[in-house]
Symmetry: C2
């Protein structure tokens, strides 16, 4: 990361993290020694807030408690849409029924999903991610969710806009073959798949997505990028 | 009901009820004055038990506590499939993660769903039904559930087999345009839509399903059937 910053290349962190505010997320990474600030992070919640404001939508939030502060400035009275994130322990039977009832009661139900991940791994095992619960509400209400976050094209485009770089001159580095690599490529960027994190060997035979290159880790990705400058 | 029984016509009750055993379900209807016995009921849980036995499947159950006795005779050790019913309060975050982990850990995940309903109405409001949670697990594990219960063809066929009647000589009476009427018709039966229960006027413009006739209630359905004998 320091080598990229020293090279003068523009850098943006694109995360689908919706279990915490950007502040908390950045503090965690800083604690691990990364040189990162809130202003450098593109995340689903602020992207959703822009959409809510633009379309005068007042959300009912089905999100993690720690994410709620990201929506502090949004009017949430008399909701006319539902925003679903990785609510984790908040994915209770009662909370899902409540979100469902609000949606089905709307003349034109609007469901905004902060990502469409299937599952993720925590120390105590695999957990269902926001995408699974999004599918449940989509089916029950016969609606299609609007996905904010990777792999949505608009999400990558807003990250690029924030640093003022066209997609052809940008490269994505990620561990998620579909959300990182596939999403960035559909937006016109090149993308490197790192063989760390959630990478699995079977990703190299993915039926839809072919990365521009594989690298064993982030350092190797930086080597390749800096060599080609 | 009494008029049908008196006429000598064969009768079968087809229900997607998965919040209680057939015993409990029948007692409830008897209490309301209906002449009905357990032996006359076709329900998803016993249909699932037949499949489990035939294919040597050992289920992990994500169902309502009151339904568990239907699976008393089934080996549930070391599960190699997941059976999901309308688990209601048992649809907790922890239980869904547990079912998901078992499925994703299987070499060939098998998910059996006791129905595919979207939602239903209770006195305290609308509730998400088994179909919504089925979709969540389908998406997370990239599998297709096998649906037992209406509108599955096999479900109607087993009801017909139990009374020894070919579909061309049978008629379904139901309030659910898709699960009752559509399912029965796809199986070669005729089907009457009653304008009671979960019927909604917009059902009469359903894009896929056209009942053989509409009736205002069960008594009118019996009138029509007895007239044509």
């Amino acid at each position: 990361l320091n080598r990229i910053k020293a090279s003068g290349l523009k850098l943006r962190f694109c995360t689908n993290e919706t279990q915490a505010t950007r502040e908390k997320f950045v503090k965690k990474l800083q604690g691990m020694g990364f040189d990162i600030s809130v202003a450098e992070v593109t995340a689903p919640a602020p992207a959703a807030c822009r959409i809510l404001k633009e379309r005068s939508l007042r959300p009912h939030l089905l999100v993690h408690d720690d994410l709620v502060p990201e929506f502090d400035e949004i009017d949430k009275t008399n909701p006319n849409c539902v925003v679903i994130g990785d609510a984790a322990e908040n994915f209770t039977y009662a909370n899902l029924n409540e979100a469902f009832r609000l949606l089905i009661g709307m003349e034109k139900p609007v469901l905004i999903a902060l990502g469409r991940g299937r599952y993720y791994k925590e120390t105590d095992g695999l957990k269902l991610d926001v995408g699974a619960y999004m599918k449940a509400l989509e089916y029950a209400c016969d609606v299609q969710a609007e996905v904010v976050g990777k792999p949505a094209k608009a999400f990558f485009e807003s990250a690029l806009a924030e640093i003022g770089v066209p997609p052809q001159q940008a490269i994505m580095i990620g561990d998620d073959i579909v959300n990182d690599v596939g999403g960035a490529q559909r937006c016109g960027m090149r993308a490197l798949q790192v063989r760390t994190g959630k990478y699995r060997p079977c990703d190299e035979n993915h039926p839809q997505v072919k990365p521009d290159a594989y690298v064993n880790n982030l350092a190797e990705a930086v080597d390749i990028i800096l060599q080609q400058l």
